[in-house]
Amino acid sequence: MSQTKPSENKAAKDASQDRQKRMIAGHFDKLSRAKEEGKKVVYTFVPGNLVELITSLGMLPVLPEINALQSGMRKLSGGFINEAERGGHSEDVCAYVKCDIGMMKKGNIGPTGLPLPEPDLLLLSYTGCFTFMKWFELLKQHYKCPVVMLHVPYQSNGEITEEMRAYVVRQLVDTVIPALEAVAGKKLDPTVLADTLARSREAEHDLVKVWESAKHRPSPIDGYFGGVYYVGPIFSAFRGGEDAVAYYRELRSEVEARMASGEGPVTPDGPSAKERYRLVVEGPPSWTHFFDFWRMFAREGATVVASTYTRVGGLYDGGFRHDPERPLESLADYCLGCYTNLSLPKRVELLERYVREYDADGFMINSVKSCNSFSVGQLLMLRQLEERTGVAGGFVESDLVDPRYFGKANIENRVQSFLQMLDARRQRSAS
């Protein structure tokens, strides 16, 4: 985010945000020195990431999805996508993959301007998205490095069964941990792992408190546009580390202070307007137009009180925590429980719960072209959720990082129409 306009950095002025920036800079710095320092590098995905296993073995994680979204925010993704499409990738497919491949072809320079090291291992945790598999197959062809697959079964019946958990644990024991150990050149120390998982649990607990603060009126946070900053550390390289524990402790106290003084969330243009609409959002943001999109809501006093995108890297407000007492089982449950690994009926249930528990006036779906895992079925979810909750739903279409799919006028039209519809409905029920 170093190249975004100054005004767009107002959101990041809290102490916790400064801390997060230092954490990210430090991590990319470590990555840039990894090869010379003999550190091993493991590429992996956000949903179902096993970052505790990676760091417990002293290795460094790289998350290509995060690189892609950062490229989107820095307006570089369009060029990277073109690069990949020139190389034979279809316009039809996931833009995260193409953005990553384009970035790789252009020298693999990370978001802080430092080059990223090549992977020593691709840890393919196949959670909630088929494209991940093709993504790492493509990287494997380029890097000629080993890949280890963790097949995480889908919660098609809305539950985690003993069979599913055992299957994942068995893969961890038989395949994943040995592959990680082989690259790390050492054995996994169970006490190190347990300590790491205990720190994950602590950070997760504080994050849940941050989410729940949005039940307050006015909400002290924006649980979507602001929320994507809050999940930064826990979705990426930092879960299980001391830094993450400190970050979430600090964030929680900031949020609690804002709640106590009746303040709303911080927006790209400073403190928010008076809270006029409380919304639940389903679907990822559009990174290329993140601030444009946020402003469409913030200017109207629309605060997102809960979102599902901020649960793709772990669904902690359902009660799940990493558990040092059941290390492998809890890692399995973590992978199995990520948001996009839930069945559609379960996703509707979760959204319904958010609408009720957070007392939302409406919900909005941002349907992104790149992510079929999210998008297929959202039009049915919209109808079902409207019927179940009685609140109105809005629907916009865009993309994660392909700027060609962000039609600003069309999206603004839909967002404003939706908010004005909420007003009109409110006036009608008042009269």
Binding site: L379, R383, E386, A392, G393, F395, E397, Y405, G407, K408, A409, N410, E412, N413, R414, Q416, S417, Q420, M421, A424, R425, Q427, R428
Partner: protein
Amino acid sequence: MRCVVGIDLGSTTTKAVMLDEEGVVVGRGITNSRSNYEVACAVARDEAHTAARFAFVERAAQALDGPGAELARQKLDELHGAFRLELFLAELEALRVTMHASLSRSFVHRERRAELAPAIGAIVDGIRERAPADFLPGAARKSDFFRDLAGAAFVAGAEARAREGGPPFEQLVGVFDRAILDVETRRLSRDIPDLLRRASARVWQRDEGAGLPLRRALDRVVESASAETLEEIVFVGTGYGRQTLPFPKEAVRSEILCHGRGAHRVCPGTRTVLDIGGQDTKAIQVDAGGVVTSFQMNDRCAAGCGRYLGYIADELSLGLHELGPLALQSTRTVKVCSTCTVFASAELRERLALGQKREDILAGLHRAIMVRAMSLLARSGGVFDEFTFTGGVCNNPMAVKVLRELVAENYGAGVTINTDPNSIYMGALGAALFALDDLRAGVNLVTPAFAREAS
């Protein structure tokens, strides 16, 4: 009279509707949209204002009695035509000045300037000469927009000149093309009472034999209509170009809400609205009070919108309005699956090459478009009784016929389907109704800059 104005700035046309304090429509106006949104809004508003004045004229004429009253009423159509002619001539003169000015500035035309300037003067003189006939009652004009009328006449004049060995056609038309853009971004002041007087004079000039009582009666009508005040209190804007509407933020309403409300106002039983315009398609559900409860719009892909029919018409060298009637002649609808605008021409050519009949292919295309609209309707919640179809495409008889069939097939025969000749004004009407709300609530009493400068 105190009025409110709603303006709908669309991608191809800009519409204005003026309501009195009782919510009765007193005037509607339309013009082509252009790069200067402010002028587009101002012209649409001027047109609505003009229509309102003519409504006063009509009303005053109805109240006439005594000698000549009946004849005076018959003269009103002529008066209206003469009024439009005066407007046209004023714009034509502005165009003439602009063309000459641009010629004298242009380096490109320096060598031919001596030849081009008189040719342009002569073409404009010719248009001027022929114009009155176009504005007689009953004369068929292809458009009421100055750009279209002047453009067609200029092209015809330039062709004739070029044929007679004058300057090259492309150069003449080039001068026109640049100048019209310029003229269209400026706003001509419109002094309606003065224009009315001039129009009236023109009518009598044509008809010197008419009696003095008749002339007096008509003058009285014009004067009384001119004297009536029209005070525009509140403006609300909407439309596809809303992001750049020359309105303060609080005076802007979503076009979805405006379309829904406008359609509900015209057909009060409306629960579902389908609007197919040039650029987008909207499916809207409203409640008994006209409040939008749900809506869906097409995505960035323009498949199935009016624009698509435009491509098809171009490919067949037909006018847009000819497509529907031709498709109605079909006896065997060809199955067309794709409504992709990009492939429209290729698909059409391939089918023609296969020997399929034009009308049968067109029938298939119409069905494909309406099937797509049905899907958007289903996405928004379905079709409920009554169902109102609006937007430019609702003037296409084949589109309406197919829609009726599809609604009957999928939602039963009990759904009343409304179309309205004024459906193009639904968005502006809805905006005006929101303005009326504001007037009654005493909030957002906004007059945008362009309306303050107005006549």
